[in-house]
Symmetry: C2
Subunit: 80 residues, 2 copies
């Protein structure tokens, strides 16, 4: 998408990489949410960015099977 084709390789320019991360990270989370709702499945997405930040999307509530994975992630993230 966009004004040009993108090669599937690490973006070397740090600034561009950050900008692309910001956009695509949001896009991925949106897609994840759509998949969960449309298809009625449980899913989680975990992202560790280089700066030690992390992002997460999870469908379902605390009683869902996937919650144990989410809990595991939070435990890990808080200990890092």
């Amino acid at each position: 998408m966009g004004r040009g084709k993108v090669e599937l390789k690490r973006i070397e320019d740090k600034c561009s990489r950050q900008v692309t991360f910001s956009k695509r990270h949001k896009g991925l989370m949106k897609k994840a949410r759509e998949l969960a709702v449309l298809c009625d499945v449980e899913l989680s997405v975990f992202i560790f960015s280089g700066g030690g930040r992390f992002y997460e999307f999870s469908s379902g509530d605390s009683t869902s099977p996937i919650s144990s994975i989410v809990a595991c992630f939070h435990l890990y993230a808080s200990a890092t």
Copy 2:
């Protein structure tokens, strides 16, 4: 995308829901892979579909920080 707009709600027809899951699940994994490569981040996507099946995408290797989460997921999945 596609021939019509899609409402963000559960697809009631089971057959359509399966077909949409099949397509979007692949799309999400592809997006995840692209984000990981382009932006040099570690990430995992876990999906539990209704039929007790699960799908996963993880960047990074066994020495990456996220591997503990992945291991947790596999442990959970194999015990289910």
